[in-house]
Symmetry: C2
Subunit: 219 residues, 2 copies
């Protein structure tokens, strides 16, 4: 894997590869910007490639692609470790091999491309870097109830309970509201809506999956 | 406040204002994309307007600007509530006034501008919408030790303890490493670096602030 971008201002690339242990200025501020850009560009890729995925599914897929470990491994493929500027302490302790330092440099480099060449250049660079990984994602995902069930079983947690809460509207345009509840060891309830009971259950399961994902990220 | 963008394809704007209670298609997928774009565009504004802010400070400033309540209030200024398409249940229960529904519509609208007009149009629209709010942010922020102390006092928590952990390097280019520890009721320790003990303490305090902010978001 190579970076398909040539910097007009190489000092931006150098700054992106300067870790805070080397003093100031360093890549910390760029990392903030790069993280946000990466999130948006990968979000758009998933929006395009997964037209039927829900918000929750896209959010989980993005977390698979954009996390410290994944970005560190991309940084290694780009051989960023060898180019990092580190303070003497981090140098001695092998900081150029640390996931967090590599992932931060990768994010900062994305910001550097944006600052040097603008959004289109940054978007094209990120899309090229992530193309294979996005293409390798599962396409037709399982339905939300199945995914929730499999996830709960993998944790060894009890299965969810679905209850019809309400039906609304005329006979020919009825809306069903169903709650999905898991009680232990974490209590999460969500209610979903749909034009059939089955669709409302899927909707509720999807919401519970999203909340479980959010709760996990918090840990 | 008005939206300074005219849609070429008004159906994208209409979709952005269609809540899931009205059935499918709705604005949920667009909200995912809009949230990410908003994060990146506001990150860039802060990167430009706060050249001395650390990553942690920019992250906190962005959370002040981009959160459910703030976006809902912007949605109200744009009178999005009146234009929302809601299912009958949400209509009856006044869903057009709910913060979460309004904030989601605002985010979806940002994505709709992107899909309709491209990144530059979206960026310009968001920058115009946020200009006053960004300008109103505190400029010269207090140093990290002061902010950490004030934050801990506001919670009624004990003050942090700073300890010199190590010094590295030659006399004329020494690096100090200082740990900052809070013990109760939450235990957080971080170590910071700097060319003086004072700078290393600031750095450590900043890291503790960032971790406290992350822990808070998880709740």
């Amino acid at each position: 894997m190579v970076l398909t971008y040539s910097f007009r201002d190489p000092s931006l690339a150098a700054l992106a590869l300067t870790h805070r242990s080397a003093g100031k200025p360093n890549n910390e501020r760029m990392e903030f910007l790069g993280d946000a850009l990466l999130g948006a560009i990968v979000a758009e890729m998933l929006y395009e490639t997964h037209p039927k995925a829900t918000e929750g599914e896209m959010s989980r897929l993005r977390a698979q692609l954009v996390n410290g470990q994944a970005l560190a491994s991309m940084a290694r493929e780009l051989e960023l470790g060898e180019q990092l500027k580190l303070g003497s302490g981090e140098l001695k302790s092998g900081g150029f091999r640390r996931d967090s330092i590599l992932a931060d440099a990768f994010e900062a480099l994305v910001a550097a491309v944006y600052l040097d060449g603008g959004f289109d250049a940054c978007r094209q660079t990120v899309r090229t870097l992530f193309a294979d990984r996005v293409a390798a994602l599962p396409r037709s995902s399982k339905d939300a109830k199945t995914r929730l069930q499999e996830w709960l079983q993998a944790q060894g947690w009890p299965l969810p309970q679905y209850d019809l809460v309400a039906t609304e509207g005329e006979e020919h345009a009825r809306t069903f509201e169903v709650s999905c509840m898991i009680g232990e060891p974490v209590s999460v309830t969500a209610s979903g809506r749909g034009s059939s009971r089955r669709l409302a259950e899927q909707d509720a399961a999807e919401l519970v999956l999203t909340r479980l994902a959010v709760a996990q990220e918090g840990h």
